[in-house]
């Protein structure tokens, strides 16, 4: 009887425990999701912002011209028609671009065809203002504007009609032998009298100006990237060296890779050698040396940077990437990490190698190092990521030589050259581009990241 009476109670307990478990899982997952949203949210907003014509737009919209598939298709086609380049567009000799715009004309107003111009457009701020680009306005010819259709429509309470107009922009090639330049973009302004409300066009305009009177396109033949990823394309097109014309951004990316890879390599060699020596070799004063290393770790970099700067100056390494590599090549924290890892490897393994006749160098390279892959992986990733994002030392060493900037300094350049003029699109776009290698690194080496953290956490 007693056992029978106990049974349902135990069942209840189990259910309670199961509920508890689920509740706990729910809390944990919920918290992780919330954190995920919290961290991803800004990225999402910033990414959308980097696509927009006005990244600071408020209230924030998630649907805008650049994310509509209709515009992707149109931009692709226009790019094809403009320069035979559906990705980046342009305006090349022989181009023939048909374009349509529709207006809503309220009842009682006679529709007036809009005025179409291909204006001369120069960048007002940033590096674009320094360069003279090929102006499409010098070569473009716009056909007379024709009315295509009229159909009755209502907007809200207002009755009227939708009138569609068509025109063609062409780049005549009078003489095939003539070497005519290709313009990178084809700016377009379509102006209608006030009262006629702009509705749609072959491609949504980049902005409506003068209280809706002028629909304005940065390029009427932008191509898919040129329209959707306009700011990303500008990062490469505009940020160029005024002296050589080569892309700054590519240069900075190469510099970042160079510095990061060299520093990783030097760190791998020195940290593992030093770590092994400190962990295993017999060396007089080893304890003192190790204490010194720990002490060095404790001194903040800011306290040492002036002396380091002066040393680099005397070595004539200021403004050169090698100066930066020399400075960040050896990190005491990494030596410490490797030492702690090597100490965890049983001594018996080395003794076995010794009995087999291996000298210390062979033991290190053939036995110990292969066993240290997780630590080396962690070291690689942490060093790479740390140096990729290093701003302070880059600013101290590389300042003023734009050709030898690394990406974080480049981003600072975009901030002062474009952000100060209210043009944040480029800044956002370049920030996203500079993030890509690190994201790839993380995805590929995710395992090592976690392992590395646990290794160092366990031992440190």
């Amino acid at each position: 009887m007693a056992t029978q009476a106990m049974k349902p109670r135990r069942k209840l307990d189990e259910r309670y425990l199961a509920r508890q478990r689920w509740a706990r899982a729910g809390w944990i997952y919920g918290a992780m999701l919330a954190l995920g949203v919290f961290f991803i949210g800004p990225f999402y907003v910033a990414f959308l912002g980097s696509l927009k014509d006005n990244p600071l737009e408020w209230p924030f919209r998630t649907t805008f011209a650049q994310v509509l598939p209709k515009n992707w298709v149109a931009a692709w086609k226009l790019g094809q028609q403009g320069a035979g380049n559906p990705w980046l567009g342009g305006f090349a000799p022989g181009a023939n671009i048909p374009f349509e715009v529709s207006y809503f004309v309220p009842e009682g107003t006679e529709p007036t065809p809009p005025t179409v111009t291909v204006p001369e457009r120069r960048a007002g701020a940033g590096l674009g203002a320094i360069f003279d680009e090929v102006q499409a306005s010098r070569y473009a010819q716009v056909s007379p504007v024709e009315e295509v259709s009229r159909r009755p429509a209502r907007i809200g309470d207002e009755a009227g009609q939708v009138v569609t107009y068509r025109f063609t922009i062409s780049y005549p090639r009078s003489d095939p032998a003539l070497d005519l330049p290709t313009a990178a973009r084809l700016p377009l302004d379509v102006e209608a009298p006030r009262g006629q409300i702009f509705l749609t066009a072959t491609l949504d305009p980049n902005r409506l100006e003068r209280r809706g009177r002028v629909a304005s396109w940065d390029s009427a033949a932008p191509g898919f990237f040129g329209y959707t990823f306009k700011n990303y394309v500008r990062v490469f097109r505009e940020a160029r060296d005024p002296n050589t014309g080569s892309s700054f951004f590519l240069r900075w990316t190469v510099n970042s890779f160079f510095v990061s890879l060299m520093a990783v390599l030097i760190n791998l060699i020195f940290a593992s050698l030093a770590g092994y020596a400190l962990a295993r070799m017999y060396l007089p004063g080893k304890g003192l040396l190790f204490a010194l290393i720990i002490l060095l770790m404790a001194v903040p970099q800011q306290a040492m940077f002036i002396s380091n700067y002066l040393v680099l100056r005397d070595l004539s390494l200021l403004g050169s990437l090698w100066g930066m590599i020399v400075w960040i090549g050896i990190d005491m924290a990494k030596v410490f990490l490797m030492k702690q890892f090597f100490e965890s490897i049983p001594r018996e393994i080395e003794e076995a190698a010794l009995i087999d006749g291996a000298n210390p160098i062979a033991t290190f390279f053939r036995i110990i190092l292969p066993m240290a892959t997780p630590a080396l992986g962690a070291l690689t990733i942490m060093t790479f990521q740390g140096i990729w994002n290093e701003f302070f030392k880059a600013a101290v060493v590389l300042s003023g030589q734009q050709g030898s900037y690394t990406l974080p300094l480049g981003l600072s350049f975009f901030r002062s050259a474009y952000g100060a003029a209210g043009d944040w699109g480029l800044m956002l776009a370049s920030a996203f581009l500079s993030m890509i290698p690190i994201v790839i690194l993380f995805v590929v080496f995710q395992r090592y990241f976690v392992e590395g953290v646990s290794t160092s956490a366990l031992k440190g």
Binding site: R121, D189, L310, G422
Partner: protein, 411 residues
């Protein structure tokens, strides 16, 4: 490491072995690096080749002021460097900057716009030559005034007529503010100067007197009386932002708004005129924002640096900058440049901003606040403006609070 040492020594030996004197220039990063290195390459260095002098520009990304002060302390600053008027006096007072009177004759200095040169004089000596400058001007959107049927603002407007015009535009259009008002002394101060008020009186104290209060009341009443809206309420941080987005009919900005509008609203029909006059004094006020080329007192190549400085501020160099629309020249003679005579909207903007530094500009003071950090000095006034515009304090209360704060700061 040893090899690196050797290589480094070899490189150092090579560069010092050349007979050329290298003059190091330091200034802002960003675009300035690109512009200045082009200027140096195309104009300055060719002019100095015969003297065996070569200039090199180094732009500093990030906080320029901090970097310059560090470099001056560490002895690594360039031979010539930018000094922003905003924090110039403490730098000049430090003794780290060379006075230029010994290197330039009176005639040579006389070619610069006097108010600009004065901005860089300290205790009777000149510590920098103006690189370029800006003042404030009033930009107005012609479409919006036309649509509201209101006359454009002009240089005869007083605060009252100006406010009446803005009020009419705002009430007739409904969805547009007359002006977007910022709680910033960098704009409001121009109105305060129009009354004859000065940041420091003869005793070196800041006194927010009746004149100050009159300007303060006018400026904050723009929002209260429906002639403008608070910039933050329109989601913008500066008057140019509102103007470019057609949220406001006028803006009070310098020549820099031209570049912004070229990108943001290339089709906008806008005009530029001088700031309105104080109805009592019949004067206007204005700021001069400028940056100098100053010489390092610890420089080893002072005569060479003076030559480079002469080339950097030469008519050729200033014309090079002006013709590209990058900045306004600091030489009086260039007021006659064809760039200023252009009939378009950008020509008018540059002309009015340039003339803002002359007598037409009225009471023009440099954008600096004695030996005080400009940011610290302006903060109490900015807070007072904000408190009144957002309705948190009365004018009297806000001014009294600001005065109390300033009394603590200004000894």
């Amino acid at each position: 490491m040893k090899r690196l040492w050797l290589i480094a020594m070899a490189v150092a030996g090579l560069s010092s072995g050349l007979a050329q004197t290298v003059v190091k220039l330091q200034g802002f990063g960003g675009n300035d690096t690109a512009i200045m290195s082009s200027l140096v390459r195309e104009v300055v260095n060719p002019a100095l080749e015969k003297d065996g002098i070569r200039a090199e520009y180094q732009g500093i990304e990030g906080d320029y002021k901090a970097a310059l002060l560090n470099a001056l302390a560490a002895g690594t600053a360039g031979d010539l460097f930018y000094v922003d008027i905003f924090w110039s006096e403490p730098v000049f007072a430090s003794g780290k900057v060379e006075a230029l009177d010994a290197y330039f004759t009176k005639q040579e200095l006389g070619v610069f716009v006097p108010s600009l040169l004065n901005a860089f004089s300290f205790k009777g000596k000149i510590y920098g030559l103006p690189k370029d400058f800006n003042t404030l001007a009033l930009q107005f959107n012609k479409d919006l005034f036309d649509e509201a049927g209101v006359k454009y603002p002009n240089q005869a407007d007083t605060w009252d007529t100006f406010k009446a015009k803005l009020k009419e535009v705002q009430s007739k259009l409904g969805d547009v503010a007359g002006m977007c008002v910022v709680a910033d002394f960098a704009r409001f101060g121009a109105f305060a100067y129009a009354t004859g008020w000065k940041p420091f009186n003869a005793q070196g104290k800041t006194v927010l007197d009746a004149n100050f209060k009159r300007a303060f009341e006018f400026y904050t009443s723009l929002v209260k009386d429906g002639a403008g809206k608070y910039a933050q309420d329109l989601g913008e941080g500066w008057t140019g932002g509102c103007f470019g987005a057609e949220k406001a009919a006028v803006a009070i900005e310098g020549n820099w708004i031209g570049g912004f509008l070229k990108d943001k609203a290339p089709n906008m029909k806008f005009g530029t005129t001088f700031l309105p006059l104080d109805p009592v004094t019949k004067q206007r006020g204005n700021f001069i924002y400028t940056v100098s080329w100053s010489m390092n007192a610890a420089s080893k190549n002072k005569p060479a640096a003076a030559k480079v400085l002469r080339a950097l501020t030469s008519p050729e160099a200033q014309n090079w900058i002006l013709s590209r629309g990058l900045a306004l020249p600091s030489r009086s003679a260039l007021a006659g440049s064809p760039v200023f005579q252009r009939a378009d909207k950008y020509g008018e903007l540059s002309r009015v901003v340039f003339n803002g530094s002359t007598r037409q500009g009225g009471n023009v003071l440099p954008f600096k606040f004695g030996s005080y950090d400009g940011g610290d000095w302006m903060r109490p006034i900015n807070e007072a403006l904000q408190a009144v515009i957002t309705g948190k304090k009365s004018v009297d209360q806000a001014i009294a609070d600001a005065q109390a704060e300033l009394n603590k700061l200004v000894k």
